[in-house]
Amino acid sequence: MAGFVSYDDLITQITTNSQYDEFFSYKISGAPILAGVWHTTWLDSGFTGAGSAPATTPGTAYDGSGTHNNGGVTFANVSPANRYLLTFGAVSTTAINIMLVDRLVAVSGLSVTSTGNKTVSSTTLPRYTTGVGVQPWLEVTTAFTTTVPIITLNSYTNQAGATGHTGTATVAPSSTTKIGDMFPLTVAAGDTGIQAVSTISVGTAASAGAVNLVLLKPLAYLNLAAETWNEKDFVLQLPSMPQLFDTHCLHVIWQSTGVAAPTIWWNIRTSYK
């Protein structure tokens, strides 16, 4: 049976069987438009390098095939064993919150410069296929100008496979939201996740602007005072051991407390059995 049967077993897997992997990464990120806005590191250079833009509709599934996982951290598949997150630590040049996410699907080339429905028709989730806990975000790829866009999940498939669900309207952070800024879209009452997005609706358009629709699964969080390492353990400190499914595509997004561009250094440790 996959997984650890005891703490002793976990120690054995780490030390005796070397079923342990870790990775130290950094990203030289961009400046957000406002404090409190989330920002992606997918597009940023560092260690690993910048991720590629996803395909246009139906988009890209980050499933470990091809080269599209390149901007993230992907450990080797271990099936039929299971891999779990042991620790997550980071330091940043500015005070931020960071979220470790599994990037599942993204669709590029969605313009917010005209009102109306925009076709997304996102491809099938490669992991978390029920959609429970899967969140829809917009990742800005062309900066907005002039007007604050208002955007809605117009038609999506929820965690129960019900199609045609509609979320509530989301107001973008600013009329001049910058490249790399992110903001989440809301789901309908009663829904707990998303399997796929059919269309988004732009209720109020900007003069310029384009976004990626990203479906992601949050895994872990840290708050970081500037220049101060913080690290969480998921075995004994926060006993949760988030599972990292085969073909995962991990990267971090961050929430600013100011408008400076941070460089973020982060480390994750994993074990599998």
Binding site: D8, I11, T16, T48, T67, V91, E227, E231, V235
Partner: protein, 269 residues
């Protein structure tokens, strides 16, 4: 079979078999810049200052090495990090890294494509997770912009290149570290063939170093000891290979010189 079969077995290795080693260190830092990593390799203390590596193809570090926090080899057993602690007058984040390769005498004073041709890695030979930095040995006066012009990645693919890394300040001081980003899709570096200096520093010389960071700890309050356990507090048990050349580096929050004291505990079995 090396390693530990349980927490009890690990404790038995420490207490019954005496297979625990610790190493207390003190490094006398020099003034630095803040918001960047800084190497204490060249700085005095206990262990004493390390020497600059050789010029191309450089030095592959296998302990015992002057300047390193040295532990004895234990093969066929394996050594793991138990804890890391430290104290410093300044607020900073300390990291212990395995210094793998260094190549000295790389001028970043003017634009060009300096040859590195680094020697083979002595550990982590696949290169996965091995990070390239410039370690400043002569200060710069203009913010340098440097990239990996040609390197061999973790798959053994030669001729890879990375984007520019621009220093956050014109006056990079001795010991300051400039990270060199890698290409999209890569997860580490086996060797560096050449760099490209796109903006020269008017002055400036650096070592190219390849390192593997292992343990981290925040020191969030001046002169206040902090220590992290890597078994029960952070389930990590980072492996320390025979020959590891452990160096101290820190992420600074001030320009003041840092007198850094610390201790690293290990166990093997």
């Amino acid at each position: 079979m090396p390693g530990f079969t349980s927490l009890s077995n690990l404790i038995a290795n420490i207490k019954t078999s005496g297979q625990e080693d610790d190493n207390t260190f003190t490094k006398v830092g020099v003034a630095t810049n803040f918001n960047l990593w800084h190497s204490m390799w060249l700085e005095a203390g206990n262990p004493p200052a390390g020497a600059n590596p050789a010029t191309t193809p450089g030095t592959a570090y296998t302990s015992p090495v002057t300047g390193a926090i040295n532990f004895n080899n234990v093969s066929t057993a394996q050594r793991f990090g138990l804890s890391l602690g430290g104290s410093c007058p300044n607020i900073l984040t300390m990291c212990i890294a395995d210094r793998l390769v260094g190549v000295s005498g790389i001028s970043v004073a003017s634009t060009g494509v300096p040859t590195v041709s680094s020697v083979s890695l002595p550990r982590y030979t696949s290169g996965v997770g091995v990070m390239p930095f410039l370690e400043i040995t002569t200060a710069t006066t203009v913010a340098i912009a440097v990239g990996l012009n040609s390197y061999t990645n973790q798959a053994g693919t030669a001729g890879q290149s990375g984007p520019n890394s621009t220093a956050i300040i014109a006056t990079m001081r001795v010991g300051d570290l400039l990270p060199l980003p890698i290409a999209s899709g890569d997860t580490g570096v086996q060797a560096v063939s050449s760099l490209v200096v796109n903006t020269g520093g008017t002055t400036g010389v650096a070592n190219l170093i390849l390192i593997k960071p292992l343990m981290f700890i925040p020191l969030p309050q001046g002169n206040s000891w902090n220590e992290r356990d890597h078994i029960l507090q952070l389930t990590a048990l980072p492996k320390i290979f025979d020959g590891a050349c452990l160096m101290v580096m820190y992420f600074s929050s001030t320009t003041s010189a840092s007198l850094l004291q610390g201790t690293a505990r290990t166990v093997y079995g």
